[in-house]
């Protein structure tokens, strides 16, 4: 027989002014099974909690109902108080008569009736509650970081410095990501490689970091604390441990004018065996088999092999699959620049001197194809007039994406500034729609580009760019004066927007985390859980989540790292016990539940007899992955799956209590 206690809270006047709390108490006392009903001014206060504990002790209660504020506020408070008196915490139920009644209704009589109903429902529910134990998951204290850009590097270093082993996987031959491609960084104009390379070297030398470059994630399974990861280490054709990075191989390679450099975004050439840039980490070349003469012409050319002193070129090297078990994962997959081919009117690809923002970045860079001297691609002359076009692809729902890429305003201002610094007497024009310069020092930076460096800003979009007499004629508008403007430029830089890294959606599917319609990985909560993905144990960092600048990427990398260090500071991971459970006797193994589960929490389980023969297959819930969302309950035809604490009989009893 249930012995239920009902506690009606006034919440000062918050509840009591709109709900007749005494009436609620009186109604509670009438319900069979309720042995105690009290009301009190502040149940959450110390005296309130003490009275709750006293009643549990004196009346030997089997269940507690609090008619009070939202469970988000004080469920934990009351559960803790109940646990102190030896009650299972899940025998505490809350009827929310503040947020759902007193704060949203005015008519006291009807509000009281609703409060009584909610209280009755919870009494019926608590009568049918069963003890639930929280789930404890063991943790493998090792982390995987996917992506070796600035946010991935920051996450890896922070975790490693916290004393935890880290595996860092990078798809490209070197870590460094996009940031190492940049020249100087806004708003302080620090040289990007000067602040980036020390971090890259630190990663390579850190005793707690295992670095896999030129490698990809092949498969991920498991759950928080116990992810099984397969990493494909692509055949580099160079034995990493023997290579000294001397450069004899790429100097010997005959393919020195035929392959466009990815790092310099087609502005220069590279050899078949190459390092993407001189400061690459690790400084070990990669042999690009798709262009190498050895592979294309049946093994004839082996100039690199002959040139190599330590003989570390291995043409027969195979892809290798490495398996690792980790407790937590950081997805820091980064971004790509948007294509601009949909803007035929801008002539990108048609006119050599119309370049993208990242290409201009390479032209500015001392390690770039022109060694930092600004030369236009068509004839190598130094341009005197450059037109910058902002929002190319961004804020264009018709041809591009509707969102703002966030960094273009700032990098364009930086480009115009550096152009003025490098080419004296030059002139830049910037077409913009709005200028978004919101972080520390950003607005001042942009104003400086206008006021000190003389860049002329025109508010309006560019309609067309065409070549005439060796000049690029830019037709735009200045909406502030209401004029059509035509400028003859030597070069045009398109501030192309950012999109998620190609293939990051596939990785997200592999990881079982959600992403938005553009492919950016989505946070568990946009404001309050910005570092967590929708799946426990998987964290997010950097531009993979959406447009952001370097400081924000660094912060997000550190945030993911601190979450992981926090997680690993305990010996086990504790999950609320309100998760799905399968009635194996009635489960018919249709696996509809598996199909609707957004968290990959349901697997097949074979039930065997003592001889090891499979008698039955049933659905099995992984407690580390299940969030208790209840999607499987709705999908189950045979009513064999239920969420603990929200069982069918409880819900039906709640509804029935209203019918009386």
């Amino acid at each position: 027989m249930s012995r239920i206690g009902v506690f009606v809270c006034w919440c000062g006047s918050n509840i009591a002014s709109t709900v007749d709390v005494e009436k609620v108490r009186e109604e509670a006392a009438k319900i069979p099974g309720v042995v105690s009903a009290v009301d009190y001014k502040y149940m959450c206060s110390d005296p309130g909690q003490n009275s709750l504990r006293n009643v549990i002790k004196e009346k030997n209660l089997t269940g507690v109902v609090l008619a009070a504020c939202s469970p988000h506020m004080h469920e934990n408070t009351f559960r803790k108080a109940a646990v102190k008196e030896g009650l299972n915490p899940y025998f505490v139920e809350i009827a929310n008569i503040r947020e759902q009644v007193s704060w949203v209704h005015e008519d006291k009589e009807r509000a009281t009736a609703k409060a009584v109903d909610l209280m009755k429902m919870m009494v019926e529910k608590v009568k049918r509650d069963k003890p639930i134990e929280d789930v404890r998951v063991p943790l493998n204290k090792k982390a995987l970081v996917i992506g070796g850009g600035i946010s991935g590097i920051q996450a890896a270093l922070d975790i490693a410095n916290g004393g935890v082993e880290v595996i860092l996987v990078e798809k490209e031959p070197s870590i460094g990501g996009r940031m190492i491609q940049l020249d100087e960084t806004f708003p302080t104009l620090d040289c990007s490689s000067c602040i980036m390379t020390p971090k890259m070297v630190e990663v390579n030398q850190h005793p707690n970091i295992k670095l896999y470059t030129y490698s990809e994630i092949e498969d991920v399974s498991g759950y928080i604390g116990n992810f099984k990861v397969k990493i494909k280490k692509k055949a580099r054709s160079v034995v990493e441990k023997d290579c000294t990075g001397c450069g004899e191989c790429w100097n010997a390679c005959p393919m020195h004018k035929n392959v466009k450099s990815e790092f310099n975004i087609n502005l220069s050439e590279r050899t078949a065996i190459y390092v993407p840039f001189p400061q690459a980490v690790p400084l070990v070349p990669v042999l690009d088999r798709s262009v190498c003469l050895h592979f294309k012409k049946g093994g004839k050319c082996q100039k690199c092999f002959d040139a190599c002193g330590p003989k570390c070129i291995d043409f027969s090297m195979q892809d290798e699959i490495i398996e690792e078990t980790v407790g937590a994962i950081v997805a820091a997959t980064g971004y790509d620049l948007m294509e601009t081919s949909m803007y035929g009117e801008y002539g990108y690809g048609k006119y050599k001197d119309v370049v993208s923002g990242l290409q201009f970045e390479r032209l500015l860079s001392a390690s770039g194809p022109t060694e930092g001297v600004i030369k236009r691609p068509s004839d190598g002359k130094t341009p005197q007039t450059i037109v910058f076009v902002q929002c190319v692809g961004s804020r264009d729902p018709e041809k591009g994406v509707p969102y703002c890429s966030k960094v273009c305003c700032m990098y364009t201002a930086k480009h115009a500034k550096l152009f003025a610094h490098k080419v004296h007497g030059s002139q830049s024009y910037v077409f913009y729609i709005d200028i978004r310069a919101t972080s520390k020092g950003y607005e001042e930076f942009v104003r400086g580009t206008m006021e000190q460096d003389g860049a002329v800003y025109l508010r309006g979009r560019v309609s067309k760019i065409y070549e005439d007499n060796g000049k690029l004629i830019v037709k735009g508008a200045d909406t502030l004066s209401g004029n059509q403007v035509e400028i003859a430029a030597d070069m045009v830089v398109l501030a192309t927007g950012v999109i998620p890294k190609k293939g990051s959606d596939k990785l997200a599917q592999m990881l079982g985390i959600s992403y938005d319609k553009y492919g950016f990985l989505t946070e568990s909560h946009p404001k309050l859980r910005p570092a967590e993905s929708s799946t426990a144990g998987i964290f997010l960092a950097g531009m993979a989540q959406g447009p952001r600048d370097i400081p924000e990427s660094v912060v997000s990398g550190s945030a993911a790292a601190s979450k992981i260090l926090g997680l690993f500071s305990k010996s086990e991971y504790e999950v609320e016990g309100t998760i799905s459970s399968v009635n194996e006797a009635t489960c018919v193994a249709c696996f509809y539940c598996q199909r609707v589960c957004a968290y990959n929490a349901i697997s097949r389980k074979e039930i065997k007899d003592r001889n090891g023969n499979v008698v039955k297959v049933v659905a099995n819930v992984n407690p580390g992955l299940c969030t208790g969302c209840g999607a499987c309950v709705n999908a189950c035809f045979s009513k064999s799956i239920d969420v603990k604490g929200f069982m069918d009989d409880q819900i039906y009893a709640e509804i029935k209590s209203l019918a009386v």
Binding site: N483, Q484, V485, A488
Partner: protein, 182 residues
């Protein structure tokens, strides 16, 4: 309107305006607070902020032939309220002066321009205003001899129209101001 930007002409014009203005055109936010508070904005063909932008873009003909530069009453509301402390009233003065030097006659605001010229002449020769001479010259120039004549007795009564003009003692200082501006 279509404007083909000529880099050299733009730079020359901006340099001329900025040297006379002692201020930088690029300072302007284009926030429009000047235009928002301007008491004669409703009569202008371009708002004050548009004049600043067009000057920066080197649209010399447009700004020098605009009504705006002549309709500005130099009340200084704009300059007082400008968040960047830009000389909005000043740019109108500068543009009027450049128009004068180029011999550009306003097509719509002829009389304002005439008044402007007579007024400045008056200041130049006396160091202050001699109303009777000012009125006389203005009327001769505009040929509106009898307009506003009924105001004369009232002004006389209040001592606003003196028969003899006064000249300040240090007229050379005034001459210096005019010379500096040239």
């Amino acid at each position: 309107m279509k404007t083909v930007l000529n880099e050299q002409n733009r730079r020359n014009f901006v340099a001329q305006v900025e040297s006379m203005l002692h201020d930088k055109l690029s300072k302007c936010y284009q926030c429009g607070k000047c235009s928002a508070g301007c008491p004669v904005n409703f009569e202008m063909d371009y708002t004050p902020n548009q004049i600043i932008k067009m000057t920066e873009l080197g649209m010399e003909d447009t700004v020098l032939n605009s009504k705006t530069i002549w309709l500005c009453v130099s009340c200084n509301t704009c300059s007082t309220r400008c968040p960047k402390g830009f000389e909005v009233t000043g740019i109108m003065d500068v543009l009027r002066e450049i128009a004068e030097r180029k011999g550009i006659t306003s097509k719509t605001e002829k009389e304002v321009q005439m008044f402007h010229e007579v007024f400045l002449d008056n200041v130049k020769s006396h160091g202050r205003i001699f109303e009777l001479e000012l009125v006389g010259k203005y009327k001769l120039k505009t040929k509106h001899l009898f307009r506003d004549m009924f105001l004369a007795p009232k002004m006389l009564e209040k001592g606003k129209l003196k028969m003899h003009g006064e000249t300040i003692s240090n007229l050379n200082q005034i001459a210096k101001i005019f010379k500096d501006f040239e």
